[in-house]
């Protein structure tokens, strides 16, 4: 039986966490639920559709490059790639609808409480966290132990970048899919805008959200390496969670809501799959990270020399 008095594994924290109230966890539910199965499925489908969209869309953006032309041949030509791209886009749209549903759920169930404890909206605390991290990055202070609530600043940043980017990509993509229909109400220049936005937004999404943000924070961040397992397992050991997100933990304890957030850890079989997945996905992430980094450097180089 795990209790919160079990020593928290030291992950290089320079600042000791505050003393926490002792809580006895009953039964086998030793893990804190970070994501619901619904959220994890949405994430899975976003992952699949996003990768597909990138793989079928990027050769069109860089159609003058030899790699794009040969890759387009591999995936069966423009017509085929377009079909796959639109199919993946529909999955992405479905995920977007799920997220809107979540937004509406908060509106109805929590009476529109988008702000307050555990919010996804950026707060001054996020700014202070970022400042503390940057100060550590440049060597001006020891590593801070962030007093995180439910979401860290980098998770909020990613959520809003992904939501905003996804909305723009869906709207512009729909215009490019049905240009004649769009032109019934909108002027033709909107199709030009859609082209610029869809193409620029794709690079932005791929580079920023995936390379410089998501893959880093979910896989390559020192605390997460090789993979932040919460999205696969649904949760993480309570001690780790209490160490990582002390603010939310303390609030839940005070409100007596902690018990409702506890889940059982993965089964033996689930753990076995998880270990395989860790290294497969993290290996893939590392590989993609290397490729994307080269790609982004190459794009930046082209962009600079283009002037």
């Amino acid at each position: 039986m795990a209790s919160i008095d079990t020593p928290v594994r030291d992950r290089g924290a320079a600042v000791e966490p505050k003393a926490r109230p002792a809580v006895v966890v009953t039964g086998a539910r030793t893990h804190f639920r970070r994501f619901t199965p619904f959220q994890r499925w949405v994430h899975f489908f976003i992952m699949i559709s996003f990768s597909t969209l990138v793989l079928t869309g990027m050769p069109l953006k860089y159609s003058d490059k030899a790699w794009a032309q040969s890759w387009m041949g591999v995936i069966g030509g423009v017509e085929n790639a377009g079909m796959i791209h639109r199919f993946a886009a529909m999955i992405m749209v479905a995920c977007g609808i799920c997220m809107v549903g979540l937004f509406l759920k908060i509106l109805i169930q929590y009476k529109g409480r988008y702000w307050g404890p555990g919010t996804m909206v950026p707060t001054w605390q996020d700014y202070r966290d970022l400042k503390a991290m940057v100060s550590w990055f440049i060597g001006r202070s020891p590593r801070p132990h962030l007093q995180l609530d439910r979401y860290a600043y980098y998770e909020k940043g990613e959520f809003w970048a992904a939501s905003g980017g996804c909305s723009i990509m869906i709207v512009t993509g729909a215009i490019l899919w049905y240009p004649q229909t769009a032109a019934r109400v909108l002027p033709g220049i909107v199709i030009n805008f859609a082209l610029v936005n869809h193409s620029g937004g794709a690079l932005l999404a791929m580079g920023f959200v995936v390379v410089f943000w998501h893959f880093f924070h979910a896989h390559l961040r020192p605390e997460a390496f090789p993979m932040d397992k919460a999205m696969y397992a649904g949760g993480l050991p309570l001690e780790e969670y209490a160490h990582e997100r002390p603010v939310e933990y303390e609030r839940l304890v005070k409100e007596g809501k902690l018990d409702g957030m506890l889940i059982a850890p993965l089964s033996e079989r689930g753990l076995k799959y998880q270990n395989v997945l860790w290294w497969v996905i993290t290996g893939f992430a590392l590989f993609l990270w290397a490729v994307f980094c080269i790609f982004v450097v190459w794009v930046t180089f082209n962009w600079i020399t283009g002037f």
């Binding site: 992950r11 980098y154 620029g200």
Partner: protein
């Protein structure tokens, strides 16, 4: 005349014929009977030199393989190069002759195409204004290696053919979905001629043009059934990198460039520094799961 003598005469004549035939076959080896082959004896050889036509150096060597594969390979050279005698000739002698071949050689057989061309912007420049830069038949179709313009092989070359003079239009075309598909090997999307026409190409200001205000919706409508005038106001040839092409599109493009530049720099710094600190403080070694 005795029988013996008659036999001798016949045998002698046969021998003579045989010798003549052998001699003739030996001659065809050096002096071909077909006019084309006779020309290619010299003009099929590489390094024959060049001739200056309208300020452009053109090789006197004909690509023999391309010629044999071309639509006109069964015709004689003189069918187009009319009035030309198969004898020794100097470049000076044939100077004015290239222009003539360039125009009337084609119209002799392709009169309806030539009539359309004659009414076109290009045709007007060449026929009425005597322009030496505007294209005549051969500038788009080629001369000796003419291939069937209804084939995919020809279609695949169209943007490059037009781009030889309209380079800026080619590059902006390649920045659209049509052009990108074409570049990726899909020839079913629109190329230059699908919108602008081919023999009778007219400027947008001419009401008879395929892209004039009166006709452009119908032209788009060939592939986009529900096209309306707003749809047709989509700017195909817009250079994103220039504010003079379309200010708003340029502004949006610059906005993206700025956003990508700033976010990639900041995000990249955040990751790289985080990674560096993590390595230095041994967090990756201790953080094993």
């Amino acid at each position: 005349m005795s029988v013996r003598r008659a036999v001798l005469v016949v045998l002698g004549a046969a021998l003579l014929l045989l010798t003549a035939a052998t001699a003739a076959s030996a001659i065809t080896f050096t002096i071909p009977t077909g006019k084309t082959d006779r020309c290619l004896q010299c003009h099929g050889k590489p390094g024959l030199g060049t001739v200056n036509v309208n300020g452009v150096e053109k090789s006197l060597t004909i690509d023999t393989d391309a010629w044999h594969q071309s639509m006109h390979s069964r015709m004689d050279c003189t069918a187009c190069h009319a009035g030309f005698e198969g004898r020794d000739h100097t470049p000076d002698e044939t100077k004015g002759w290239y222009r003539q071949a360039k125009l009337t050689a084609c119209s002799d057989c392709h009169s309806s195409e030539f009539k359309m061309y004659d009414q076109s912007f290009h045709g007007n420049l060449v026929m009425s204004e005597g322009s030496t830069k505007a294209p005549a038949c051969g500038d788009c179709h080629g001369s000796h290696g003419i291939i069937d313009p209804t084939t995919q092989k020809f279609r695949a070359t169209i943007p490059q053919v037009c781009g030889r003079c309209h380079g800026d239009k080619e590059s902006t075309y390649l920045d659209t979905y049509h052009g990108k598909s074409w570049q990726l090997g899909d020839l079913s999307r629109a190329v230059c001629t699908d919108c602008h026409g081919y023999h009778k190409i007219l400027p947008q200001s001419n009401p008879a043009s395929t892209i004039s205000k009166q006709n452009v919706v119908a032209t788009c409508g060939k592939c986009h059934p529900n096209a309306n005038s707003r749809f047709s106001s989509f700017m195909v040839h817009v250079d994103r990198s220039s504010p003079r092409s379309s200010f708003w599109v340029w502004l949006m493009e610059m906005n993206h460039a700025l956003l990508i530049g700033v976010l990639f720099t900041l995000g990249g710094l955040h990751c790289v520094l985080y990674f560096y600190r993590g390595l230095r403080e041994g967090m990756y070694r201790r953080g094993k799961h």
